[in-house]
């Protein structure tokens, strides 16, 4: 596939890194030479503006399959997408950052207006991140949550603590509820697919897949008291903090937001219904203590500054037993955060990337989720018509992989060894990122 990326922002870089592995990527930006970071990637570069039809012609936009606009400026991205559409009818993906523009482009409310905006996909990284965080917050104790098949199949990731009933047990000896399986374990930042004889150790992060009901049973077994989330504290009232607070409010969770800019505080207070908006700094320990931030069930640090997020998380860790979710922009530092004791590390780039990659994949294979910073992937694979009925135990994978769920018609089946796979089944397969290609090829034959 030939892909043209407009912009050299961080998102553009992340996309280029991922996409250039398998596809022909051209970067278009109005700087004279390509920024240093891109030099170690196998991509070509064209200097010029995305809104300039001449520059797009020079970049041979007409012969590309996909156009990704992710420069720093929203308006430039939108104009670039429109301009490309005038050259050729290729798929366009547009990154935006402002709420208003996103709503203009995406909201269903505006669908009935006369002319649609001519952009195929709009990606707003912050909004995707908000959804990610919201999913995680809504499941007590979980450190990662993904939903499949409209929420009927789910993926939860839990950290194994001292009092866990599966600690130091082999997986085959654990009695899980029906319809739940372990698909992956992260130990010391390394993700692997376990076998029945793998022993679960302290501080392992275990990835479960299953149906909603099954996972609820599991959660009940894990945590004797099913503590409902009642209070959430958000440090940083940027667009992620604002959107998240709005969503949490709707589920009747009491929200406290700490924001250091007074004007922004006013904005938050007048646009949110019930949230407690405090003017102050998230690293002000006295403020955190006097407002009892530590008593919240979940604390979410989403300022736009990684260092500040880390410092906040560490301060709160001193006074709180709640889950701490922290935003990080640089993928490299995510491990650091993890080691420092932050429970959940989330990144807007990763959320956006996942969305983008799905546009590049063949149509019968989708990436539904990236796990552990992209180490693992959940793929959706449709079994072709020619596929003979096969029992799961008889299926030999060419690489490490595990079938997490089968969607057959309207049913969700969590497979065990005797389950028979049939043509037309939708499989959710958990695999390692480096093996994803092998698995894809296995089924697309």
């Amino acid at each position: 596939m030939k892909i043209l990326i407009f912009g050299t922002s961080d998102s553009a870089y992340m996309s280029a890194v991922y996409l250039s592995k398998e596809h022909d990527v051209t970067i278009l930006d109005d700087q004279e030479t390509i920024p240093d970071a891109f030099n170690n990637l196998d991509v070509s570069y064209v200097a010029g503006s995305g809104a300039d039809i001449g520059a797009l012609e020079r970049a041979d936009a007409g012969n590309k399959n996909l156009f990704v606009a992710c420069s720093e400026r929203d308006e430039a991205n939108i104009v670039a997408c429109w301009t490309v559409k005038r050259i050729a009818d290729i798929e366009t993906v547009c990154f935006v950052r402002s709420v208003e523009l996103y709503n203009n482009l995406m909201s269903y409310r505006h669908d009935n207006y006369r002319a649609p905006y001519d952009i195929d996909t709009v990606i707003w990284p912050e909004q995707l991140l908000t959804q990610d965080i919201f999913r995680i917050v809504s499941v007590p104790e979980a450190i990662d949550v993904e939903y499949f098949a409209r929420g009927r199949a789910k993926l939860f990731e839990y950290r194994i603590k001292k009092d866990s009933f599966i600690l130091d047990k082999r997986i085959m000896d654990c009695h899980f509820p029906d319809n739940v399986i372990i698909v992956g374990i992260t130990r010391e930042n390394y993700l692997f697919i376990p076998s029945g004889s793998t022993v679960i150790k302290l501080d392992d992060k275990v990835v479960f897949m299953g149906t909603g009901g099954g996972l609820d049973m599991l959660a009940a077994k894990f945590f004797r008291k099913t503590s409902k989330i009642k209070r959430a504290a958000i440090i940083g009232g940027g667009s992620v903090g604002y959107l998240l607070a709005g969503k949490l409010e709707q589920t009747h969770i009491k929200v406290t937001i700490i924001e250091h800019d007074k004007e922004r505080c006013r904005f938050l207070a007048s646009n949110l219904r019930k949230a407690l908006v405090l003017h102050g700094d998230g690293t002000d320990f006295e403020l955190l203590e006097s407002e009892a931030i530590g008593k919240s069930d979940v604390i979410i640090c989403v300022t736009d500054n990684d260092e500040k997020n880390l410092l906040c998380s560490l301060l709160i860790k001193q006074i709180s037993t709640g889950r701490i979710i922290t935003r990080v922009s640089k993928a490299q530092t995510a491990h650091m955060f993890d080691r420092a004791g932050v429970d959940v590390v989330v990144s807007p780039r990763q959320a956006a990337l996942q969305e983008l990659i799905n546009h590049v994949q063949a149509h019968d294979v989708d990436i539904l989720a990236l796990i552990e910073g992209g180490q693992g992937e959940v793929l959706r694979v449709t079994l072709p018509e020619s596929f003979p009925p096969t029992r799961v135990v008889d299926l030999s994978f060419d690489a490490q992989a595990i079938i997490g769920a089968i969607q057959r018609g309207r049913r969700i089946i969590i497979p065990h060894g005797d389950t028979v796979l049939k043509a037309g089944d939708l499989l959710k397969i958990f695999t390692m990122a480096e093996d994803a290609e092998i698995i894809k090829n296995m089924f697309s034959k």
Partner: protein
Amino acid sequence: MKREYIFSALGLILVAFGGIMLSPIIIALIEKNYSGVLPFLVASGVSLTVGGILQKAGGFLRNFDKLSRTGGFLIVALAWLGTAAMGAIPYLFFGLSPLDAYFESVSGITTTGATVFIDFSLYPESLFFWRSLSQWLGGMGIIVLFVAILPQFKVAGRQMFFAEAPGPTEERVTPRIAHTAKALWLVYFSLTVLEVFCLVIAGMAPFDAVCNSLSTMAAGGFSPHPQSIMGYGSPAVVWIITAFMFLAGSNFALQYRAVVKRNVKFLAKNEELRGYSLIILTVSLLLALVLFTTEDGAWHIALREALFQVVSIVTTTGFSSSDFALWALAAQTLIFSVMLVGGCAGSAAGGIKVVRVILGAKYMRREIIQLVHPRIILPIKIDGKSVPETIQFQILGFLFFYIFLLTLSAYAVTMLEGSASIGLVGTAATMGNIGPGLGEIGPMGTYGNLSAPTKIIFIVNMVVGRLELIPFLAMLHPDFWRLGR
């Protein structure tokens, strides 16, 4: 402000008012009561003449586009005092002293409904009609009326429109002020006609139905019957009037929008309307409970009486379906408690207005929360939108002044009359444009026996309360008179 503007505008208003004053003659002719013709001919003639002289003094100015803010205030205030004076002339023909006539007229036009009449049988129908009509004219606001019907007030109307009804929000149903005024009058007029129709169906005599409807929609409270609504002895009438009083006390602009857009859902979202309904329901239920335990009678009668009386007082109408001055003290206290609330902003009701009460309550709540969370940013919201600080302070200032003037007047009247109940309740009833108070000045009583200074104080209360203090407060500042001269 230019003197010419004031004279010409006032002249115009008086001429138009003089024209309207001819209408009771129709009633007199229908009822074949020819003694009722002369007073209105004279009053109308005086109004037209004074109006003409004022216009001449003002040089027949027709373009008020450059009217200043203070000029607007002055015109509004003088228009109310002037039209009330013209409206008082017919009463003089029936043996009322000039002060009593002016009291009755001001009470009418400010939709208060406090009366000095003692024996209702002395007066002809045309006078009762005029009493109710003057309330109806004042109900929507004299200025709103003239902005709607006089094209000269196209632009300047805006200044005066908001000087007359300086609610906390500048609300317009249509972009043009004259259209807005017309739309509001349309709602007002249609509801009045509807009420007349309902009352006639319920068996009331057409003349009484018209008079009572005019008073109801204006939230006024003058009834041609000496015993007010109680005199008709009909539960159906009580229920109909309760419903229309409720409408008279809610925002007309909102009702207009609900009808035009054929959508009533947003009414439920309106915080003021919700608060208004909630106050009425809560106090009515409490009052019903008190009535049920202290008075004889079935629970449904207690409920009907309670609801009627609470709506009547909250909307500042002042009708009574029974003599509440004779009720138990607990019931009277409940009645007094809602006297200070008033209806919704942009309605015919007087008083403090529900939206100001809500805002005051929210302000207090914020003060408490700020003690617990010193760093909190907590805007005060009405209908989910933050109220700008300037408006917050304006409303707080209003509340403060209202209570201040209330206290001042209550002290003065208490000393004059030697009765704390007349002092406090009478002040609340006149300043809130409610009408009947408790005790001697209760629904079956009269203001006629009070001393002259008390009546003057009450007249001032009524006008000041009706114009929501602001134009008068502005006049107290010396610069008001200096600027633009």
